[in-house]
């Protein structure tokens, strides 16, 4: 090795060697090839599936009653108006779940004998509402509570929102509780020894870490709730599904249901993608050893 070479190595300038350039060329070629292969295989697969579908004997009837273009176009506007109601319900339900779910989770992690009744109540609540089908809770709350005549008349979507909050708070509370328990006790200790009160330790140190740990699970619950908002239609609220139902009855054609289905999928897609992205990122950080 000559002396000029060793001084060149010492400088900060990075000039990739022939070997590295060769490796890069190879990687690029590989990348192009695998993209080509995946495109071709996807196209072939789709062609086969569609070929079988369109050539089946029942296809013309199915197409006429589920994919009728005119019925789809006509129903789009009322269904969109209905979907707006779903989105509003989703917004308030998510807010309510965040609050009630956190309170339940915190109640279940309280230590000390004074809190026993609170802890038991919270435990009982989560057990019951995780076991009850959402549809059943919808009926019980939506038709039962107004029957008590305790409150002034509220629209169906109000009771639907309450029912969703009651059910999903139970799921979310369990997820959050797991997150709270996964935060290392030394974190709590460190916060307390700085002089932070119990409440501030929970709010500033424990909860933010707990939520981060269970974000993928929470996002999945949110995606579930995104479709369960459609259940408010059973209470008579004119949401996307109810609007589709009305159109179906008018047109004697099922296509509006397909429209509503597509809209629900579109609504949930961003969240699903976000969940995947976040989970992948969290996994990558875990592998690097990000936890302190």
């Amino acid at each position: 090795m000559s002396s000029t070479e060793s001084t060149a190595r010492g400088t900060a300038e990075f000039i990739p060697s022939g070997i590295e350039l060769g490796r890069r060329r190879h990687r690029r070629a590989q990348g192009t090839r695998s993209v080509l292969i995946s495109v071709v295989s996807t196209v072939v697969f789709a062609a086969v599936v569609l070929g079988v579908l369109f050539n089946s004997t029942g296809w013309p009837q199915v197409q006429a009653s589920f994919f009728d273009g005119k019925s789809m176009v006509n129903s789009l506007q009322p269904i969109l108006i209905g979907l707006w109601l779903n989105i509003q319900v989703l917004f308030f339900a998510a807010l309510g779940v965040a609050i009630l779910g956190s309170l339940l989770a915190i109640a279940r992690t309280l230590r000390g004998p004074i809190f026993t009744p609170i802890r038991l109540l919270a435990a009982g609540y989560t057990d019951i509402f995780r076991g009850l089908p959402v549809l059943l809770v919808m009926y019980l709350i939506g038709f039962g509570v107004p029957g008590l005549n305790l409150f002034e008349r509220m629209p169906a979507q109000f009771w639907g929102t309450i029912a969703l909050i009651l059910c999903y708070s139970a799921y979310v509370a369990e997820v959050l509780r797991a997150g709270i328990e996964a935060v290392h006790p030394s974190q709590r200790l460190a916060a307390r020894s700085l002089g932070l009160s119990h409440a501030k330790t929970l709010r500033l140190v424990v909860m933010p870490q707990a939520v981060r740990k269970v974000t993928p699970a929470l996002m999945n619950d949110f995606v579930s709730m995104q479709k369960d908002v459609g259940l408010i239609s059973v209470l008579g609220a004119v949401d996307a599904i109810r609007a589709a139902q009305i159109q179906v009855a008018q047109d004697f054609n099922f296509s509006p249901y397909v429209v509503a289905g597509i809209l629900f999928v579109l609504l949930s897609l961003p969240m699903i993608r976000l969940t995947d992205w976040f989970t992948a990122r969290a996994q990558k950080r875990e592998q690097i050893g990000g936890a302190v």
Binding site: Q187, L189, A190, S193, L194, G195, L196, S197, P208, V292
Partner: protein, 251 residues
């Protein structure tokens, strides 16, 4: 130390049990202002437990602990108020991973001492500059080396100008080459007048930084004195045996 000045910390005949097992058996220690007292002793001798009782993370079973004139073992004393006056650094860094370095350092200033963000940030940045980590203010703890994390933990503990600093084996989770930078920082704190009670296994460091060394065995203070007295002329056989073992572990 003149007898008229009140020590920053006075531990008076403290007993601590875990179940039936006595871990501290009548410990008495005083730490005067600007003094550095180092606890040494075998694993399980009760060093960490003593530091925890002083920070009220563990209740004592008997005896008293005074911070200045206040008996902090009095059940009417608010633990949070005591902890706000005492800085603590543990063996593991225990930085808050969801906050950046500056937020870690300023948390107590903002949330316990009620400073506004600008004031707290100014103080935090000044401290980070002093420990040579000014450029890491906005980094998250998991992007720092072990030594850097431990220095931030120390900065976090001294940010509020605590009356007393408790350090528990702050270098034992570090690679040897990182130990130096953390110990330099502690020496700097001593020079700027901090009052420190620390537990350590680093005998060389104890000798250099301590005003007084206290040797603990099975929850009892066997011997205490200046570093020279303890390391060069230990009196008690248990002290001699312990030092022989830690200074020459293979012999």
């Amino acid at each position: 130390m003149t007898s008229s000045t009140v020590p920053v910390l006075r531990v008076d005949n403290v007993w601590k049990f875990f179940g039936e097992h006595p871990v501290l058996r009548g410990i008495s220690i005083e730490v005067a202002a600007h003094e550095v007292v180092v606890l040494i002793g075998a694993s399980g001798s009760g060093k960490s437990t003593l530091l925890k009782t002083i920070n009220l993370l563990e209740p004592v079973n008997d005896g008293q602990i005074f911070l200045g004139n206040e008996d902090i073992t009095d059940p009417r004393v608010k633990p949070d108020a005591v902890r706000a006056q005492v800085g603590v650094v543990f063996q593991h860094f225990n930085l808050f991973p969801h906050m950046n370095v500056l937020a870690n350092v300023t948390l107590a200033l903002r949330q316990v001492h009620g400073q506004d963000r600008a004031t707290a940030d100014a103080r935090g940045r000044e401290l980070l500059a002093r420990i040579g980590l000014a450029d890491k203010a906005n980094e998250y703890p998991d992007r720092l080396s072990g030594g850097q994390q431990q220095r931030v933990a120390i900065a976090r503990a001294v940010a509020t100008d605590p009356r007393l600093l408790l350090l528990d084996e702050i270098t034992s989770a570090l690679d040897p080459q990182l130990v130096g930078e953390v110990l330099d920082l502690v020496r700097g704190l001593k020079e700027s007048g901090s009052t420190i009670l620390m537990a350590t296994h680093e005998m060389g460091f104890a000798r250099r930084v301590a005003d007084r060394v206290v040797f603990l065995k099975d929850g009892v203070i066997v011997e205490s004195g200046t570093p020279e007295e303890i390391f060069d002329r230990p009196q008690h056989p248990a002290t001699k045996e312990f030092l022989a073992r830690v200074l020459n572990p293979l012999g």
